[in-house]
């Protein structure tokens, strides 16, 4: 490997969190282009076919992780368990927070149509959602957002990697169908 790739490998090995490329450049006293080239070399080297470790880009930086097909061995060895599954309510609340953050509980309830107190508490407990401040509105309610753990557990480099919300919009035909159903209901009620 390139000498710089070896040096980056050592830094990524030692760092407990993903390292942004500019910090790598700073630590090795080299340019962003040098770092990019060396990271390419590292990525080629640490591919699952060759190693039990792989290079990943997640949560704003680069990090080394156990290759997926070796994870079960490691779990057996360390006794670590997979994180508990998220219920649909938790995932839905998390989606609202991730796309709208920073967001208050009232705004989340407004989108979901139900109080989201329990879901928010459970997400906070799992470290997926955190309080990021207070809104500058009457009562200064708590603002919620996602953190590094959210990005890591969902394999995102940053919040910008979330697919655009518009992708999940209903199709025109679906909207028409709902509209027709609502009209029928409204007319029946009006009679």
């Amino acid at each position: 490997m390139l000498p710089l790739a070896r040096r980056l490998e050592a830094l990524l090995f030692i760092s407990p969190r993903p390292v942004p490329p500019d910090r790598l450049a700073q630590a090795c006293d080299c340019t962003a282009a040098d770092v990019a080239a060396a990271l390419d070399a590292l990525r080629a080297e640490f591919s699952p076919e060759r190693h039990g470790i792989e290079l990943r880009q997640v949560a704003g930086g680069y990090t080394l992780a156990v290759a997926d097909d070796c994870a079960d061995d490691v779990r057996r060895f360390t006794g670590a368990e997979r994180p508990d599954d998220l219920t649909p309510a938790l995932l839905e609340t998390l989606a609202v927070v991730a796309y709208l953050e920073p967001v208050t509980r009232a705004e989340i309830a407004d989108v979901r149509g139900v109080s989201s107190e329990y879901a928010l508490g459970a997400l906070e407990e799992r470290g997926l959602v955190e309080q990021v401040g207070r809104a500058d509105t009457p009562g200064s309610p708590v603002l919620y957002g996602t953190g590094e753990r959210f990005l890591k557990l969902f394999g995102l480099g940053s919040r910008d990697d979330l697919p655009p919300l518009e992708e999940f919009a209903l199709g025109a035909d679906e909207v028409d169908e709902i509209r027709a159903r609502l009209h029928a209901n409204a007319e029946r009620r009006a009679q």
Binding site: G155, L165, A186
Partner: protein, 255 residues
């Protein structure tokens, strides 16, 4: 119950709240709710009551006026909230609207909500792929947190200096202060038992040697006679003489 006029005139309820939707004094919260700036749905009244009770317990004072005022305000909040809970009113609100307008609003809400529900589905797929990934979480070795010493930073003589004292045979321990001791505890016990047998009673001053260390041994022997139940020790005042009297015959195996 106080009249409304009196309730308004009463001093404000001094209770600082740190709720999820609100951070500030209780009075302000009530005002904001009345002005529709905070949705009462989002306020947990039970939490407010719990905080107030805690505050009362902490202060140790019971202010009847302030507490009455608090009860009135909390009751008002609960009434508002329970009214809103009645579905009729919600229905009424929708029925007030033109059916087309009501349908349009509902449609907007549903369309907006569906986006997030679909996004949650995409998040689930990402979670299934990535959540079980294992990252390294090992502290940086201490060696890499220290600036290493440069080459030839230490003189080699430091090694010899560190080793030499270890390799010499340690000098024999100095026991001279022990060798001078004329009495041993066993000997002293034997001597005191003989005196007890002969006299039945003696005083510490009467039997103790002059040497401080030897006197200490004699004193130890007295304590031994006491704990074995052979003698009774009496002292009428602090630092006074100790009178030792026989309680039982010496044990045959004594000594």
């Amino acid at each position: 119950m106080r009249s409304d006029a009196a309730a308004v005139a009463a001093p404000p309820v001094a209770l600082e709240l740190d709720l999820d939707v609100f951070d500030g004094p209780f009075d302000l919260l009530v005002t904001l709710i009345l002005r529709d700036e905070i949705d009462i749905w989002e306020v947990r009244v039970s939490r407010i009551i719990a905080e107030y009770v805690l505050k009362l317990a902490d202060s140790g004072e019971f202010d009847l006026d302030a507490t009455s005022q608090f009860v009135v305000l909390v009751a008002a909040l609960l009434e508002m909230k329970s009214r809103l809970l009645l579905e009729e009113e919600v229905e009424e609100e929708l029925e007030d609207l033109d059916p087309d307008e009501a349908a349009r609003r509902l449609l907007e809400r549903l369309v907006r909500y569906s986006q997030f529900r679909n996004a949650a589905g995409a998040l689930r797929a990402a979670w299934e792929t990535h959540s079980s990934r294992l990252y390294r979480a090992v502290p940086v070795p201490a060696e890499l947190l220290r600036r290493p010493l440069p080459e030839a930073a230490l003189p080699a003589s430091a090694l010899a200096e560190a080793l030499s004292p270890l390799l010499r045979e340690p000098p024999a321990p100095d026991t001279s202060h022990l060798a001078d001791l004329a009495v041993s505890l066993v000997k002293e016990l034997r001597r005191l038992r003989l005196i007890l047998d002969d006299e039945g009673e003696f005083t510490f001053a009467g039997v103790a040697p002059r040497d401080r260390l030897e006197r200490a041994v004699t004193f130890f022997a007295l304590l031994e006679l006491h704990s074995s139940g052979e003698a009774r020790l009496r002292q009428t005042r602090h630092f006074g003489d100790i009178v030792v009297s026989r309680l039982a015959a010496p044990r045959p195996a004594a000594g």
